[in-house]
Amino acid sequence: MEIDEDLKEFLVEGYEHLNQLEGDLVALEQSTSDPEVINRIYRHLHTIKGNSGFLGLEKLQEITHGGENLLSRLREASIPVTPGITNALLQVIDAIRDHFESLETTGEESSRDRTALFNQLNALPVENGERIKDEESETQTPISNSPSPITNSAIRVDVNLLDKLMNLVGELVLCRNQILEFANKQAVNAEHDDAFKSASGRLNLVTSELQEGVMKTRMQPIRTIWSKFPRVVRDIAVSLNKQVQLEMEGEETELDKTLIEAIANPLTHLVRNCLDHGLETPDVRTAAGKSEVGRLLLRAYHESGHVNIEVSDDGKGIDPENLKQKALQQGIITPTQALQMTEQEALHLIFLPSFSTSKTVTNISGRGVGMDVVRANIERISGTIDVETWLGKGTTFKLKIPLTLAIIPTLIITSGGDRYAIPQVNLLELVRLDREQAEQRIEWFHGTPVYRLRGNLLPLVYLNQVLQLENNTEVQEYSGIGKTSNAHKQNLSPEQEDETINIVVVQATEKPFGLVVDAINDTQEIVVKPLGKPLKSLACFAGATIMGDGKVVLILDVQGLAQKTLITSPDKEKALVNEDSQSVNSAAIPQQLLVFHAANQRRLAIPLSKVSRLEEFSRDRIEYLGDQEVIQYRQHIMPLIHLSAVLSNGSPGFQVRDRQSEISEDKQPVIVVSLEGDKQVGLVVDQVLDIVEQGINIKGVSPQQAILCSAVIQGKVTEIIDVHALIEQGLSVVKPMLVEI
């Protein structure tokens, strides 16, 4: 229905006044005789009354007048505000709201009968049985001297107009990117160059500022949706017979208008949830040693490109066991899953559709359709929601919303011959490994490559593999894409990479992981354009953009990539988690191990029981028996095995000097190992590290015969030597020579 422009304006303003009125009334209830609050309420009512008069809305005039009357009587008689009075005033507000809604939908005021309310208004305040006479209001003077401090420095702007401006600014940003590219490529004419460069530099500055400015126009403080909460909380608390104190921190935190609208409903639901399920009734609380009045805290603050909103209560918390039980009952999870579930996973059960643990379904919540909708709404605006709880103490819901959707800074990377954009908000750091480092430092773990980044295990995801970028040559040629980089066919197996490894460490909601790409280009601010309907459900892409050179580039969705590739099985997840926390798994029997470096800095270990002695020999004592290095040791000729020889290519009889040992001093550490009888062999190593006693949890096996398995020792991946196999391999040429002198 087409609403008259004036009426629209009136309603918009009217709702604003109403919201403030409500807030003030609730404040009034709690601190009953602040005259300033009463004045404010009066002024709001007065303004609504005046505006209603302009539009000839009689019923509104009457009801606001009634409210005004009551207030002025209060003030004159200096009577403290009673609950009866606030209730009546709240009813006035409800009536006004009713009229507004009716006007919005039908263009007419509500026809509901208000005589009861009028009677009530007239009968108040009752003091010592006195009834105060009805007064004619025409001659009433406005109480407070000045009219409401309406600042003339603000102006109303239609949201559509702002949207248009945003779009134009977006296009401008694209053009600016193009100009910048030209500017950077200019090398020809020096004079023109300078002028052009400075002009484009200026264009850059101005565009950035314009972009910021326009985005600011659309920002609204979160107060706009929070302002209604005092009333909502009060009403629900009353209906549930609970006592609640609402605190709001950071209400001036600003968000883009569309985002504010999107989170209004989810926030309301969360608040209702806390009131309904989280906070306990006063008697339960006192029994638990808490104060009677429950605390509900709304908190908003900016943090690195996001707005964080927290809804916390100091109620009874959420019991993960309870959740698991319920989920089991409803058949959502299997008993095994329930056993293996972590607390966080159990808490996240509340976000499943139709999941509700409340025994009673109230009007407010408990129907089990709330939380999943909340999460869906939050995720639709690219936000995340998380929950923390402490049994008996309280629960906190944390929402994280990105500040803006349209124009974002990104990192441009190349993989499989194409460029892709990674939103900077997901970016943690960049790591570059040359070939050697790659070979050494990338470890394998349950079939997943990982990289140890400052002590934490970072799972690696090869972008070429995830996006299957090698397999699409047919499509490329078919559609005539003129790419020249077809020549660089990447091998799927990472061990065969010849080039440096570029790792982009990214993070979506949970653990960070490393994205391996071919090359890292540069950072750029881009305009996010949504993908068409056919492609919207591709999880790995969040949209597309147009680069300075006019080419289309896809924007990666880090969350989608994570879900698609990573560690989804609970076993792997557990394994990594255990690794990270360096916990000693209790299942294994502790063994004593000697840990050492050998064969190009590999970390190796050997059961201590096999070790006879640790020695250091100076190089000049090493002699040769044919090709075999030996040393005279305690009346024996002891053969020496260089581990690098055996382990790097396993071919017996081929002795390679460890580079390490060549460079270092002439003292060579040797681990003397005894075999059957008195026969002994010396293992030449780089450096003996430590003796540890711990359980061995086998993490992986190696194709090399000399290696028994790999495990984590002292927090590092270590290979455990199979002594016999090692000696077999190292000595097969010379075994016959093990002879006692």
């Binding site: 194409d418 078919y478 559609s479 005539g480 003129g482």
Partner: protein, 145 residues
Amino acid sequence: MTNTTQLCTFFLDNLFLGIEVENVQEILRHQEMTRVPLAPPVVAGLINLRGQIVTAIDLRRRLELKPRDYDPLPINIIVRTPEETVSLLVDGIGDVLDVSDDIFERSPDTFRGEVRELIRGSYKLPNRLLLFLDVDKVVDFTVMD
């Protein structure tokens, strides 16, 4: 008076097809496309159309026809439906024809299931058969990965 419809016609494999002229925004030569990994071959790629990102649909694959040879390069028909703007890749462009209802017939049963949905019927022209493509249905699909 029978109704006539104006169709923009084009060639695809050995077929002659047409779509309502109102749906056609423009016709372009072959454009450079960005491929979309993980999308099936029916999605040929993404095109930059004066700042708008348009999905290019390989109509041969969509209609389950033989894939094209590499030459000649396909032509883009930019189609605008109420929901989307997409590009249809076709072999060649024909004229805009006025066709009357009385030579229209529903699809013969010789077409297989999937494709049958996408063809609304055919017009029996003197020389050949003109297939009437249902653009909305052609555009309405989602790609899962």
